[in-house]
Symmetry: C2
Subunit: 435 residues, 2 copies
C-alpha cells in the first residue's frame, strides 16, 4: 500500500513556545538502512521542554522541525539493507518486516560501531536525537528512522528480546500490552532503569549488597582474619530518589524490582516538593504486586521530611545511593546532603551549563562517586521490556491514580498540552495522530 | 622492659615550613584500646606537605605536633582491651602480642562501627589522621595508636592476612621482606590499589572486561537477539594514569597486577610532565616479572604525547578509565579530556577547595563517572599486602632506578628532607629514628 504524500505533524517554530500542527510531506526512505514507521502513539517528555523553551540546539539555527522523541508504531517501509543476512550487522536487518510493531529509542544508534557494540548506544557517534533540528521527531503520523536495524526494537519478534523473559510473559507481551504502556519503553522506563542499574552495580554499593566489607566485596572467596562480620542492619540498602516525574517513578519501580528479584533488603525514600507527584508514586507503590515490592520500607516525602527520614533510618550516616532525576543544581545539592560517606549519586537528569555545587575537597572528603549521563536507551530495551511486561500492575494502568499517563489526546490539543505540561499543570501526555 | 621517658621526634611548628627534631615524652597508654609502637621506620609522604605548608587543619590551632602518617614498628605496650577474646571486636584485640611487627594505616579506625564493618575504614567517625594536630604522628621513636585492634595490621601473624595469599608467599612475607618495602603498605600501595580497584570494578568498565554489552554485562546469562558481538579490540581496556609520584607508581603496579591476574588485555599510558618520574615508572615496569605484566601495551609519556597516544590507540574515542593521582584542577581537566564517553575518572589525589573544571552539561554530555576520595587504607591492607609480597621485583628494590624509595636518612636530616621533597628535588624519603 503506497504511503500518503501529506501527513499531520506537531511542529516547533522559533524562537520558543510556538507549537503548531501542520501538514508536511510524509518521509521516504533516504538511505538503505532507513525504515518508515506509521506512528501509533507519540508522547510528550520532560526533555522535549528544552526544545519547546528554545534552549540549546533548538536555538542554533531556529530550524522548524517535527517534535517528539517517544513513539511507537508499525513498519510501513524498509530500505534495501533489510531482508538479506548481513554478517556482523544487527539481526534486525535480516528479521524486521513490514507490519512489525516497533518502538524506537529517543536517539538513533547504528548498533554496530565500537561504541554501540559496547552497549553505549545513547552516545553512538552516528546518532541523533529525534525531535530536534538534527532529526524530525515522532509526534507525527509517519517518521523516518535512520540506522533502523540498529535503532528499532521489534515488539512483534520475541527472538530479539531478553532471553531472561519467561515464555508466559512473552505471550502476554505479544497479545495483551496496551500501546500506551509500550510507549514507556521509548525513554522513561529505560532511563529510570539505567539510574537504578548504575546504582546497584556501583562498587560503592557492593559491600552492602554482598555483605562483605570493601574491598573483599570484589573477591568473594577471600577472607582475612580481622574484619568484624556485618550486622543484618549493615546490609540494608538506603536509597533516595530525587524527582518524581515519570522517569523518577520508573526509577522507583525499577529499583524496587531489582531489589525484590535479588532479595536485597532496603529503605527507599522518594522525594519531590510537589504533593501530587508524591501521591502518584504512593499510588504506584500500592499498585505493585508483592513480587515487585521486595522487603523494605518505602516512603514518599517532601525534601525536609526526607532529610529527617534518612537521618533517622541511618543514624545520620546517609543514603548509600541517591538517584537524581531532576537535572539541576539544587537537586545535586540535596543529593550531596543526603548521600552517605562512600556513597554514590547517579544523575540521569539533563543538566544545563552549571558547575557542580560542591568543591573537589568536599567530594574528596565524603568519598563520593558521581555517575552522570544519558541513558543508552536501545541497549536497555530488552531488560526494560522485561520489567515493563512483568510490572503491568503499574505500567498497564491508564486513567488511574497509579497511571504514569495523564491523558491521551489528539493533535489539535498539542499547543495547549505543551503549554500546560511546561507549567506543570498536567502529567505525561500521549498524542494519538489518528484520532 | 620499661619504655624510656624521652624520645626524639620530627615536629611541625607554626606557621609553616618549620620542621624541628625535638626531645618529647614517650607516649603511654591512655585508653584500653591503645597500643604503643616502637617505630622502626617512618616515611615522608606527599600529603605530609599539606601540613608542612601550613594548609588546612594544621593552621586551625597552630598546634605543634609530631609529623608523619606512614610508619612500621614493633608493639611495645598494649592497653587492657588486649589479650581477652571480646565478642564482635576485631580479632587483633585477642591475638596481638608485645613484639609483633605491625604497620598502621595513615588514619585510625575503630574497625567495629557501621562504617568500618562495611570496610570504609578511612572514614571511621572515630578516626583521626596521624601527624596532624588531632593525633601525634609516626616520625618519632614511639607512637601511640588509638583503637589499635581495629587500626593495626599484624605483619607477624598470617592468620590475619588475605586468605588468597599462597603459603609460599606467606613464608616469604614473614622472613624476607625489607622494612622499607613493608612501609609502602601504610599509604601509597593501598591508595594506588584503591584507585585501580575502583576503576576495574566500575560498571562503566564492565562491558569491556566481560565482553558483553551494557547492560547485559551485569547479567551474564542474559542474551538478546540483536546485539552485535564485541570484537577482540573492543575488549582492550585503555587506562590513563595521571601523576607518577609514589602513589601513581603503586596504582600502575596494582592495575597491571589485576589485569595480569584476570587476563584482561590493556593499553596503559602513565603520564607525568616530570621526565625523572617517567623514567622511574619505566624502570618499575621493566622490573616487573612476566606474571605481573599481563598482556598489553605500556607507555610513560608527557601530557601532550599522551593525548596523541590515547587518540591513536582508541581512534579518538578515549580512555575507558583514568586514574587521577595528583589532586588538582589541571589534572581533572586532563582526565576529562582523555576519558572516553561512558568512561570513569577515579581520583585519589587530595583536593583543595576548587570547583570541578567542567559543567554538569559537559559531564552529562560525556556520560562520565567520577569516583573521589580517601583510601580506606586498613581495609585494603590484606589485598595490598598480597601484591606487595608478590611484587617484590618492584617493592623490594632500594637504591635502584626502579626503587620507590629515594633514600633512608636519620632524623637530623628531616628539615632538609622536607624542604627538598617539597621542592620536588628528591623522591620518597624514609626516616630511621634509631640511626
Amino acid at each position: 500500500m503506497p504511503l500518503p504524500e501529506i501527513q499531520k505533524a506537531i511542529r516547533w517554530h522559533p524562537p520558543s513556545y510556538d507549537i503548531r500542527v501542520e501538514d508536511v510531506p510524509v518521509p521516504s526512505i533516504q538511505h538503505p538502512d532507513d525504515a518508515i514507521i506509521k506512528v501509533k502513539l507519540g508522547a510528550l517528555c520532560g526533555s522535549d521542554l528544552h526544545v519547546y523553551r528554545g534552549h540549546g540546539g533548538a536555538m542554533i539555527n531556529n530550524k522548524i522541525h517535527t517534535c517528539g522523541h517517544e513513539f511507537i508504531g508499525e513498519v510501513v517501509a524498509l530500505g534495501e539493507s533489510f531482508g538479506a543476512k548481513a554478517e556482523g550487522r544487527p539481526a534486525l536487518y535480516s528479521s524486521l518486516k513490514i507490519g512489525d510493531k516497533v518502538v524506537s529509542p529517543f536517539t538513533v544508534n547504528c548498533g554496530e560501531c565500537h561504541v554501540c557494540r559496547l552497549g553505549y548506544t545513547g552516545r553512538c557517534p552516528d546518532g541523533s536525537l529525534f525531535g530536534t533540528p538534527a532529526l524530525e521527531g515522532g509526534q507525527a503520523q509517519f517518521v523516518r528512522v535512520p540506522k533502523a536495524g540498529g535503532t528499532l526494537f521489534n515488539l512483534s519478534n520475541p527472538s530479539t528480546w531478553s532471553s531472561a523473559m519467561p515464555e508466559s510473559l512473552k505471550e502476554q507481551a505479544l497479545s495483551k500490552i496496551a500501546d500506551s504502556s509500550l510507549l514507556m519503553l521509548a525513554d522513561i522506563l529505560p532511563t529510570g532503569l539505567f539510574a537504578a542499574l548504575q546504582a546497584i552495580n556501583h562498587p560503592k554499593v557492593a559491600a552492602v549488597i554482598t555483605g562483605k566489607p570493601w574491598p573483599l566485596c570484589f573477591s568473594q572467596n577471600v577472607t582475612t582474619g580481622n574484619e568484624v562480620s556485618l550486622l543484618e542492619s549493615d546490609k540494608v540498602l538506603t536509597v533516595a530518589i530525587i524527582g518524581l516525574g515519570p522517569v523518577g517513578i520508573c526509577a522507583t519501580v525499577s529499583i524496587l524490582d531489582i531489589l525484590a528479584t535479588r532479595n536485597i533488603p532496603f529503605r527507599i525514600v522518594a522525594i519531590d516538593p510537589n504533593e501530587a507527584r508524591r501521591e502518584k508514586v504512593k499510588a504506584v507503590y500500592d499498585a505493585i504486586g508483592p513480587d515487585g515490592k521486595g522487603t523494605g520500607e518505602f516512603a514518599a516525602l517532601s525534601i525536609d521530611e526526607a532529610k529527617i527520614k534518612v537521618n533517622e533510618w541511618t543514624n545520620g550516616v546517609g543514603a548509600t545511593a541517591v538517584l537524581e532525576v531532576v537535572g539541576n543544581v539544587s537537586a545535586l545539592e540535596l543529593s550531596f546532603e543526603l548521600v552517605r560517606t562512600f556513597g554514590v549519586i547517579v544523575s540521569v537528569g539533563v543538566h544545563g551549563e552549571s558547575l557542580l555545587p560542591m568543591t573537589t575537597r568536599q567530594i574528596y572528603g565524603k568519598n563520593i562517586s558521581f555517575d552522570f549521563g544519558r541513558c543508552p536507551s536501545r541497549a536497555m530495551f530488552p531488560l526494560a521490556f522485561d520489567i515493563l511486561v512483568k510490572r503491568q500492575d503499574v505500567f498497564g494502568k491508564v486513567g488511574d491514580p497509579a497511571s504514569l499517563i495523564d491523558r491521551i489526546v489528539d493533535f489539535s490539543q498539542a499547543p495547549e498540552s505543551y503549554r500546560a505540561f511546561d507549567k506543570g499543570e498536567i502529567g505525561k501526555v500521549i498524542f494519538d495522530p489518528w484520532k
